[in-house]
């Protein structure tokens, strides 16, 4: 499965988005191929990592077969890992 990653712009993050991404990527590296989302590519899922509940990252211009998963607080990182696993 291919996952495109999009960060919000990080104007005032409530948690370390880079660390959160690293945890998700490390735990799922055998199952999912992660890459920063590009406009011309197709992805099975887009993962949006927002720094706060506003989660204002733009992602409509990316192409996905199965949908978008958003995470915007540290407490939900583990749940996000499970959601991505279930996409498989």
């Amino acid at each position: 499965m291919k996952c495109g990653v999009r960060f919000c712009g990080g104007c005032n993050p409530r948690f370390d988005r880079g660390e959160a991404y690293e945890k998700i990527r490390t735990q799922l590296k055998d199952e999912i191929e992660f890459d920063y989302a590009k406009e011309d590519d197709w992805y099975d899922v887009i993962l949006v990592i927002g720094g706060c509940t506003n989660c204002c990252a733009s992602y409509d211009h990316y192409r996905t077969r199965r949908g978008v998963v958003k995470v915007y607080n540290a407490e939900d990182v583990d749940k996000t890992i499970q959601i991505l696993k279930d996409f498989e």
Partner: protein, 490 residues
């Protein structure tokens, strides 16, 4: 093409910008210790655009070319663009704790874009096409442009054309078939030396007698006849002292202002965006001022975030963080800071499309934003100074903290004495405590106070300018009708 910070700095070296400081021409201004921190600050606006974790705010898709551009070169196409602009500015304020100078250009692009469209609609001129060509050039080359509005103004009670010295407002001195020649200067120009180009705008509403003063154009920083005289800042020469890195406060970044002089400078026609259509000066000024007043709801908030963080660290290092009054002061600082952000987001969210298609902020809310910015940073730094304590302004120099000169009965050095007597809590070394206190000194009354305090007061218009706009936009007659309606008064 998006430049990196290093490429931007190298691009400045190729310019032949004339810069004067302390009565002398500065040949290598890129590496001058007083100027370099402000260049490094602008460089951050380039570097962050390459990082995936900031790209969504730092970049946009140009509606003119479809290419990714730095948001500082973007023409806003939606309220989402307006909000992201403010968020980008907050981000940069957090990363630099300084004025990062590139906003004035972005705000002038958007004001000139929509105003030229409407001038052309009325007069059949080609200013908008001139500007489209110019902004594409800026976007393709990822340039930093100084948006220059403020004339020295001379006698504030007299119109531009009535001044004793005609040059106190920028004006046209000659019209040629291929362009115009202008003379005058622009004062308080933020980041002007660090800019590739300048975009000139009139500074106030104009009448028919002021036609030659109603002028807007773009020119490279090193055009013949253009030169800049650097503005002094409080404690600026600390940046030139040896072994005084910590004493500077913010030793990485800084701001910059200069007087930019136009000594009979030729402007080709294709770079002219307003030339005598005096009634449009008001529109251009109001729109630019509106965007720039919106900007402060982002940039000063980001710097405020760092001030709050440094104040909290100072409390930790002083061993005072558990005190109820310290917590309350940090709450108050946060409240004030986020109120400014509320204003920045509100005027963005309530934005609308202009006739040209680009988006303008809500003028009333933008002026409310800036009016609050003229006050709250002063209270925020007052609380920061309160938390930091008097040591902020009485500490010995860094050289004393590092001195090995023996002065004590048992051979203690000055450095050892300073480190002993200025130790704080076990959470920090004395040097770390000193760094935080010097940072707060710098932002409260050193060189960074220029960007955080006085610029908050006067930048984008002094307080009275916002009150005039609030009065114009406040719809008092409509509000009277609301009261009459409730009270059954016809």
């Amino acid at each position: 093409m998006l430049m990196t910070g290093a490429q931007y700095i190298e691009s400045l070296r190729k310019l032949n910008t004339r810069v004067y400081l302390f009565g002398e021409e500065v040949k290598n201004w890129v590496d001058h210790p007083m100027i370099r921190p402000s260049i490094d600050c602008v460089a951050v606006t380039y570097d962050l655009a390459h990082k995936p974790e900031y790209e969504d705010l730092m970049t946009a898709k140009s509606h003119l070319t479809g290419e990714k551009v730095n948001r500082f070169c973007n023409i806003h196409q939606s309220t989402d663009d307006l909000r992201k602009k403010v968020k980008m500015q907050r981000l940069l304020g957090q990363k630099t704790a300084s004025c990062f100078q590139r906003c004035v250009g972005m705000d002038s692009f958007n004001a000139v874009y929509s105003t030229t469209f409407e001038i052309d609609q009325k007069y059949g001129t080609s200013y908008h096409q001139n500007f489209l060509n110019y902004i594409k050039f800026v976007q393709e080359n990822d340039l930093t442009v100084d948006g220059a509005m403020t004339d020295p103004k001379g006698d504030r009670g007299l119109a531009p054309s009535k001044q004793r010295d005609a040059d106190l407002f920028m004006h046209i001195v000659e019209r040629r078939p291929d362009g115009i020649v202008v003379r005058g200067s622009k004062a308080h120009q933020t980041g002007s030396i660090n800019s590739h180009e300048h975009l000139i705008m009139p500074t106030m509403a104009m009448g028919e007698d002021d036609k030659d003063y109603a002028v807007s154009f773009a020119i490279p920083s090193d055009a013949e006849g253009v030169y800049m005289i650097y503005g002094r800042q409080s404690c600026d020469t600390r940046k030139m002292e040896p072994n005084a890195k910590i004493d500077v406060g913010n030793f990485k970044y800084g701001g910059q202002e200069a007087l930019v002089v136009f000594d009979d400078v030729f402007i080709p026609n294709d770079r002219v965006f307003l030339c005598g259509e005096y009634e449009f000066a008001t529109m251009l000024v109001e729109r630019f001022a509106g965007y720039h007043r919106q900007s402060y709801g982002g940039c000063k908030v980001g710097v405020g975030d760092v001030v709050i963080g440094a104040s909290a660290l100072a409390a930790d290092y002083n061993g005072a963080s558990k005190a109820a009054h310290i917590k309350d002061k940090l709450i108050e600082m946060t409240h004030l800071n986020e109120t400014l952000y509320c204003c920045g987001i509100a005027c963005s969210s309530e934005g609308h499309a202009t006739a040209s298609g680009n988006y303008q902020i809500d003028l009333l809310l933008a002026n409310v934003c800036k009016q609050n910015v003229t006050r709250f940073p002063y209270e925020i730094v007052r609380l920061a100074e309160d938390i930091a304590g008097g040591l902020m302004v009485t500490m010995p120099s860094e050289r004393d903290f590092n001195s090995d000169l023996k002065v004590g009965r048992n051979g203690e050095t000055i450095g050892e004495i300073c480190n002993k007597y200025f130790a704080g809590s076990a959470l920090c070394t004395t040097e770390e405590r000193m760094k935080v206190l010097r940072f707060l000194e710098n932002i409260s009354l050193g060189s960074a106070a220029v960007g955080y305090r006085t610029e908050s007061l006067h930048g984008a218009g002094s307080p009275q300018a916002q009150r005039i706009m609030i009065s114009r936009q406040g719809n008092i007659e409509g509000k009277k009708n609301l009261a009459k309606d409730i009270l059954d008064i016809k």
